[in-house]
């Protein structure tokens, strides 16, 4: 095993929390029962790494196997770093019949042509998700396996989720995705978060949405546990209405966990008491950010408790409705949906 592979393994074992080492190696599936027995998961990581390196040497494994292990770990624990959503646009006629083998071949071939040298690994997960790991190189160096980009895509859906992509790498990835999925363009979906599952559920509508029905609302019944029949809630009806509207705007039950929502304002300053600001020609630029461990849950609670007025303002309800958490607000309404953002450098 060469130096870079050794370094990769050392870095990886350092990164994986001690309590997850066993399950990760198990999922990797490369160690024999005997080898697994010989590993001591209680010893310090540096010693553990040495033992694992020995096994790798014995088996003649290379960097390829280590990247496989890394991918196994990341697929099981994707919530590290920021994930960004992209949307494929204008499908060709045969976009609906793109199947896995074809996609894999096409993606690898297109990306290699566009961004030589590049190391691509594609794996299909049980839940129809295609995971792609990309190590980028340039004319002076081999692919850098220490800073890979990860991409997740479900075929026949327009969404792609990406983490650790630089603005230099973005055009190559975009082109490769567009060509291999038979679409004409790809745009930034203006949605990002630390939890892959959350942004995916939001876009794929995998959470409990509430629609007006002809039946009396079961929500109030469920939530309004009457402790004592002698107690009468004065504003039960309006509380019920607020709850209904909050749930219709955000959903019921467990909501996808978003961490923030950002509004970039480019609107004219409006305050009659402040003539200096109001008289300025240019719009007043400011950024408003809402942050929370569970933003949608917090907003729903704001609406149902009356802190935020109901019906819920479109500025907030657009987050789940449009599946985005970055908005540009101009005076003549919210900005175009394909507002691009600066990706990390």
């Amino acid at each position: 095993m060469d130096d870079s592979a050794r370094r990769l393994l050392q870095r990886l074992i350092r990164r994986i929390p001690a309590q997850m080492l066993k399950t990760t190696l198990e999922k990797w599936g490369r160690l024999t029962a005997a080898q697994k027995q010989s590993m001591d998961f209680t010893e310090p990581k540096w010693a553990f790494t040495e033992r694992l390196l020995d096994i790798c040497e014995d088996n003649g494994w290379t960097g390829k196997h280590i990247t496989e292990l890394e991918m196994t770990y990341v697929i099981e624990n994707p919530n590290q770093g920021m994930w960004y959503a992209f949307q494929l646009m204008d499908p060709e006629d045969d976009a609906r019949s793109v199947e896995l083998t074809h996609f894999k071949e096409q993606f690898k071939s297109h990306l290699s042509e566009l961004a030589r040298p590049v190391s691509v690994k594609i794996k299909k997960h049980a839940d129809d998700a295609i995971w792609i790991r990309i190590a980028w190189g340039d004319s002076f160096s081999r692919p850098n396996h220490l800073k890979p980009t990860y991409v997740v895509h479900h075929l026949q859906t327009p969404y792609v989720f990406v983490t650790s992509l630089t603005s230099k790498q973005k055009p190559f990835l975009s082109q490769a995705l567009v060509l291999s999925t038979r679409h004409q363009a790809i745009k930034d979906a203006s949605l990002s978060g630390r939890k892959l599952g959350a942004i995916r559920d939001l876009l794929m509508r995998q959470y409990q949405q509430v629609f007006p029905t002809s039946y009396p609302s079961p929500l109030a019944e469920r939530n309004g546990t009457v402790s004592n029949p002698q107690i009468e809630k004065e504003q039960a009806k309006s509380a019920e209405n607020r709850l209904q509207m909050a749930c219709e705007a955000f959903g019921d039950g467990m909501l996808p966990q978003l961490q923030s929502s950002v509004y970039k304002l480019e609107t004219k300053f409006k305050d009659h008491t402040n003539k200096t600001m109001t008289e300025r020609e240019e719009p007043f630029r400011c950024v408003v950010k809402f942050a929370s461990t569970n933003l949608l849950e917090s907003l729903r609670h704001c609406a149902s408790s009356g802190i935020a007025s109901t019906p819920v303002t479109p500025l907030l309800s657009s987050i789940p409705l449009k599946g985005r958490n970055y908005f540009v607000i101009k005076d003549n309404g919210p900005g175009p949906s394909s507002q691009t953002r600066q990706t990390q450098n």
């Binding site: 019949s97 896995l100 075929l155 859906t157 876009l203 794929m204 007006p212 009396p216 469920r222």
Partner: protein, 235 residues
């Protein structure tokens, strides 16, 4: 017990049934008949075409002081109720969908473009319902296939359930055969094409495999596999 209590109780039960992740045990005759009745009703609506309450069968209710219309599209397969999908439509100035919980691999925007929601909303709803029911049906077949046939390995499937690749074992030679089912018509629950591969090559035609192919083309996959196993062709 007041009227309100009973209605709320019933709707609470319905919400529970809807929100349960696993399918409720619904093998009772009454529920089977209800699902069959629903499917027949939907077919009847399709045959009727136009006239009267255009949204019959979709539980249409008005929202936002008559500006909006909320529709419910239930799906069912083989006597079992599956997912219900919803659409909220803004009626003025021209009908457009403002909210829905339809998965992104169902070509909703294509269907909207292909139909005139203003004059013939029902055709749009019927076509959409066809796609959704077919998808639910295929998804259900895949679920049953995995449950009932543990000896068959599902090698590939996708979110739309429009492709299914399974590995089956032939008892005599103990060879593995890869069966690919292409569901290219997304409004149907049955595949349009079936082919077999063994050791990387397409299998030659033989009466046995032709029989298996017709079974897979004409019967839901989980049932077809049961029949094929009974015939002794696969393990």
């Amino acid at each position: 017990m007041s009227c309100e209590g009973v209605l709320s109780h019933l709707s609470r039960l319905e919400v529970q049934a809807r929100s349960r992740k696993t399918q409720p045990q619904q093998r009772s005759r009454v529920t089977e008949l209800k699902a069959a009745a629903e499917q027949l009703r939907m077919q009847r609506e399709q045959l009727r075409g136009g006239g009267g309450d255009a949204q019959g069968g979709y539980d249409a209710i008005e929202t936002r002081q008559g500006q909006g219309l909320c529709l419910s599209l239930p799906t069912a397969y083989d006597g079992v109720f599956l997912e219900t999908y919803n659409l909220e439509i803004d009626v003025k100035p021209t009908p457009r969908i403002v909210r829905h919980n339809i998965p992104p691999f169902i070509p909703l925007s294509d269907l909207v473009e292909q139909s005139d929601m203003q004059t013939d909303l029902r055709t749009f709803l019927d076509t959409l319902s066809q796609h959704l029911n077919a998808f639910s049906g295929r998804k259900q077949q895949l679920k049953l296939l995995k449950e009932l046939h543990k000896s068959v390995e599902v090698m590939e499937s996708n979110a739309l359930c429009s492709i299914l690749v399974m590995m089956v074992t032939v008892p005599k030679e103990k060879t593995a055969v890869l069966c690919t089912l292409d569901y290219t018509d997304h409004t149907r629950c049955l595949p349009t094409r079936v082919h077999f591969e063994c050791n990387g090559k397409l299998l030659a035609d033989s009466p046995d495999w032709d029989k298996i192919r017709s079974l897979l083309l004409e019967t839901p996959v989980h049932k077809a596999l049961s029949d094929i196993r009974t015939m002794g062709n696969i393990v």
